[in-house]
């Protein structure tokens, strides 16, 4: 429960409100993690927030977080410069376990900042690409300026035979790509419904509609995994802040299959 000290060793501005931080442990002991896990990241003297890990699980020497400025703590984190000391607890929770999809097709469905928690799983697939069939990444954002990891998206398509499709809700001048909701990409994506694993991350409502589009294509609920981002606090299932009826998302999640989540996601104020 005591935060470890990590030093900011690199920063990158991704979009107007989003930044990626590379952290290195002050004690030189790397933080091993699984794709889809999160840490509790603290800006000393300001506060602590749950942030998904966006780095490569094969290189735990660098702990990478992609952070959106949505409030006081995240504003401090986004403003951190190389040399800043931050606190890290974790990693916490159940991850994507994307290796379960070996031998079949894998579809990543991301909305907005939801691409960040999926990135480690995409890298895992890239590192073992021949073990998987068709791989698609369907990504929706608000505007073209909100697209994360542009160079990664191009490299995954070019070097790892991943079918990357992007769409935006609102086009800006010069955008030549798709305009529309991400669920429409699901309708048109090529994958074998009977042997596909689908990992979905984004705003909760978007994930619900994405799951419905996947069910319409004939997938079973057990083939669909969602990452639930609720109000994690303790990270170890004690405080109850992230409780979703019988689930403590910090330990039971954040990644859960849709058969467990469906009855919970359609209830208001749960």
């Amino acid at each position: 429960m005591v935060p470890r000290r990590f030093v900011v060793t690199g920063t990158r501005r991704d979009t107007d409100d989003t930044c990626t931080l590379d952290l290195t442990a002050a004690d030189d002991q790397p933080l091993a993690f699984a794709s889809g896990q999160f840490t509790m990241l603290s800006a000393f003297g300001v506060g602590e927030v749950p942030i998904s890990i966006s780095g490569d699980p094969a290189y735990p020497e660098v702990l990478r977080h992609t952070i959106r400025d949505v409030g006081g703590v995240t504003r401090s984190l986004v403003a951190a410069r190389p040399g800043t000391m931050l606190g890290v607890r974790g990693p916490f929770g159940h991850g994507w376990e994307v290796a379960d999809g070996r031998g079949g097709d894998v579809v990543f469905v991301a909305g907005g900042i939801g691409l960040a928690p999926l990135r480690p799983a995409v890298l895992e697939v890239c590192a073992d690409r021949t073990s998987y069939g068709r791989v698609s990444l369907l990504y929706g954002t608000r505007t073209p300026g909100d697209i994360l990891f542009g160079p990664d998206l191009r490299a995954w398509a070019r070097e790892h035979d991943i079918d990357v499709e992007e769409t935006v809700d609102a086009a800006t001048h010069g955008w030549r790509g798709r305009v529309g909701v991400v669920t429409h990409l699901i309708d048109q994506a090529s994958f074998d419904e009977a042997h596909a694993l689908v990992l979905v991350c984004g705003p909760e409502v978007m994930m619900r509609y994405a799951a419905q589009a996947l069910l319409d294509r004939g997938l079973a609920r057990e083939q669909i995994r969602l990452s639930m981002e609720r109000n994690m606090k303790c990270g170890v299932g004690l405080c109850g802040h992230c409780q979703l009826r019988e689930l403590f998302l910090c330990v039971d999640g954040p990644v859960l299959t849709y058969d467990r989540l469906e009855p919970l996601l359609t209830r208001a104020e749960l």
Binding site: V70, V179, G180, V181, T183, Q188, P203
Partner: protein, 152 residues
């Protein structure tokens, strides 16, 4: 070169439609190829055509004082335009090919006549068009939710 009668059942919009109706409506259809920048139709113009996209991308646009705003794009497997089915048969947006685009274009008046002659065909077509309209309405509502906005 494949005929329209061969191509139509492969398009998702007509998938599963009875063969006799495919034969019936083929006479209303023609193959079209558009270069980037070519308009399929303009807002306010007579809605006399219905398009199936075989390849490429079409932007549905609204003209604004600061330039055209793309409200939606349509792609392979999509259809463009249902105003041909609803009086007063006028387009409500612009539609423009944004890349090399191959389409099957239907004469809207011809299709309406076929539907009037054979209500069973009319019902089958209407079901398909309503499915498209329903999907567009759902998309529009989801976008109204502005799901990706910054909560701060």
């Amino acid at each position: 070169m494949r005929t329209i009668a061969e191509l139509l059942p492969e398009h998702p919009f007509f998938s599963g439609l009875d063969e006799r109706w495919i034969d019936l409506i083929t006479g209303c259809a023609s193959n079209t190829h558009l270069s980037p920048g070519t308009y399929l139709f303009r807002e306010g113009g007579p809605a006399d055509t219905f398009f199936l996209i075989r390849r490429g991308q079409v932007a549905i646009e609204a003209a604004t004082p600061t330039g055209a705003v793309v409200v939606q794009t349509a792609h392979e497997g999509d259809v463009v335009g249902w105003s041909w089915l609803v009086a007063p048969y006028r387009w409500t947006f612009d539609a423009r090919a944004t890349e090399e685009t191959s389409l099957i274009a239907f004469d809207g008046a011809c299709l309406r006549d076929k539907c009037a002659e054979d209500p069973e065909l009319g019902y089958a077509l209407l079901q398909r068009v309503v499915r498209v309209i329903s999907a567009h309405l759902h998309s529009a509502r989801v976008r109204l939710l502005d799901l990706y906005r910054n909560p701060s």
